[in-house]
Symmetry: C2
Subunit: 343 residues, 2 copies
């Protein structure tokens, strides 16, 4: 695509253009080389990379049979395990456990009450025994009972200091370099990129713009209810310990419809929690793209298909074959996994 | 703002630019006049117009004390009575009543059952007597029981043929020309414009892009629940007769936080249903802008402060004075009301 000359171009700009023209004309070779630079340098050559490039070429080819207008180029990305590391435990759960520990001095009774006791004792078996109800209690303790602004600050502060125990790095550095390139490549190709995650919408929004280039209004996720009220004459939104929406499995197409209101033409996930999003995106006629990140690299990241209560990769892998979705073999397809490997 | 030269500009474009340069250089006077043209030509000179221009100038002045980065320039607009005509009855209610009439042949029992009988008889008194419960029955009948795609088509088809009885025009032509100019002016000033309406999110999305330049993903509204399922091997979202979210009053800041995830710096409404959105937007420190459209023009549109069950203008008008919100006197401040008046 060639940039169209602006109708509103001013005399000053035209004069300036004329002045730099001789210099600009001397640059065509380097500019042309730049234009053809690999948009996915951290992807090894192979079927996955070729499938991405071929899809983008088809839907962006002006006048082509599969052309999709830019406004309809919606791409949705799962977060945990698709854009950043989710193993051995989703980052948001690490946050919840840390938060309970931080609040414990204010709640001496937690020493004898499950599931809090399990967290304080570091007893993962007892924690698992507390089941979904216990987990929900912890999540609500960590996520509710403050204003939305206070929560955003708590998340930002925690992320600034918390470190992944294996990689000894902030969690926001454990994002996948090839996926960052993919996000940027899609946006440069006229796509609008969205996160559609089972994770908490307000746990992600404080950092997705900085880390993924995805602004808050393009982040969809699970949420708890909030209440509008006045405190000392100031309007606030108070976070209530009550689930509003669970953005997982069948919830993902529902949320895509509710928050985005347009059907994606490309979707990216890594577990059965993303199955319905991939189905909704790709089984609608037209050229569509589905991709699953398969964690096959125990050395550089992790190799797993089971992630306990947090989502397995089973049905989605079977569906991938039937629906011609691209399956990324992390070990084979990714030249680097994390941005810091390039240093 | 001057357009920046593209880094990826090709030799071909540069050569083409050079070829048209002499012609372009002969146009500077008309182009310069165009650049300084009034961005709000349908607004009469006065306090309201000046307040808008002054606010935009302050928050967009690079290096100024009140500068707001483009990413944070979020502006939210109520729809009914703020962007399009809501009187004497919200358009969506007209749609619901028409839809009930269209479906009546399939439901012979409606002839004897309220609130349907009232609709079929055109008995507005009986309809009012059916109360909120009756109204909800009608709304669910008109809005649920089909897929999301079917509903979008039903809405589009209805809007293509329905005509406002007073103005004899499609409802999508009964939008306020000064507000269309305001939307365009804000976007040209780096704002992202959102609809935040008590109306149905899926009743608005089929046409907001064409009429307001606001894409579906920037429309927030009330919603019913949907269910993801397969029909004959095809994934669908089925619309259920169950309220999901009521985007009115206290619901507006809640929805702004949930859907947009950023606090607006400007909000526009016309009734008490918008009071909390205006409070949430403007009572947060920093230079903020609140505006209320006051319907004072019985001749060109309507003059009212009471709109029955559909929202009055009372508390919000009192709050406007206390909070320095701009109140638009439609009769005095708007040169034209509807786009067709210019013809």
């Amino acid at each position: 695509m060639t940039p169209k000359p602006s109708r509103g171009i001013s005399r000053r700009v035209l004069v300036a253009s004329a002045a730099v023209l001789p210099i600009a004309l001397s640059l065509p070779i380097s500019l042309s080389a730049q234009a053809q630079a690999d948009p996915l340098p951290s992807w090894n050559e192979g079927a996955a990379k070729q499938a991405i490039l071929a899809f983008v070429a088809r839907v962006t080819q002006q006048g082509g049979p599969d052309f999709v207008p830019p406004a309809e180029r919606i791409a949705t990305f799962d977060n945990d395990g698709t854009l950043w590391c989710e193993h051995p435990m989703p980052v948001q759960l690490v946050f919840a456990l840390d938060r309970v520990k931080a609040l414990a001095p204010l709640h001496p009774q937690w020493k004898d009450a499950q599931p809090f006791k399990a967290v304080l004792d570091g007893d993962m078996k007892a924690l698992a025994a507390a089941g979904e109800h216990g987990l929900m209690q912890l999540v609500m303790t960590a996520h509710a009972g403050m204003t939305t602004e206070e929560f955003a600050r708590i998340v930002a502060d925690w992320l600034a200091t918390a470190r992944d125990p294996r990689f000894k790095r902030p969690y926001t550095e454990l994002v996948y370099q090839p996926m960052l390139e993919l996000l940027a490549y899609l946006r440069a190709s006229g796509f609008k990129t969205f996160v559609v995650s089972g994770g908490g919408i307000e746990f992600m929004r404080p950092w997705t713009e900085r880390v993924y280039g995805i602004p808050p209004e393009q982040v969809v996720g699970s949420s708890i209810k909030t209440k509008f009220e006045f405190r000392r004459g100031i309007p606030i939104l108070f976070r209530l310990p009550e689930l509003n929406f669970n953005d997982d499995k069948e919830g993902k197409p529902v949320a895509i419809n509710e928050y985005i209101g347009r059907r994606p033409i490309a979707a990216f996930g890594n577990s059965d929690g993303d199955l319905q999003m991939l189905q909704w995106t790709t089984m609608a006629g037209g050229v569509r793209f589905g991709l699953i990140v398969h964690h096959t690299d125990a050395e550089r990241e992790y190799a797993y298909e089971q992630n306990g209560a947090f989502g397995n990769l089973d049905k989605a892998l079977t569906a991938a074959a039937a629906n011609n979705w691209t399956v990324v073999d992390m070990k084979r397809d990714w030249k680097v996994v994390f941005p810091f490997e390039r240093h």
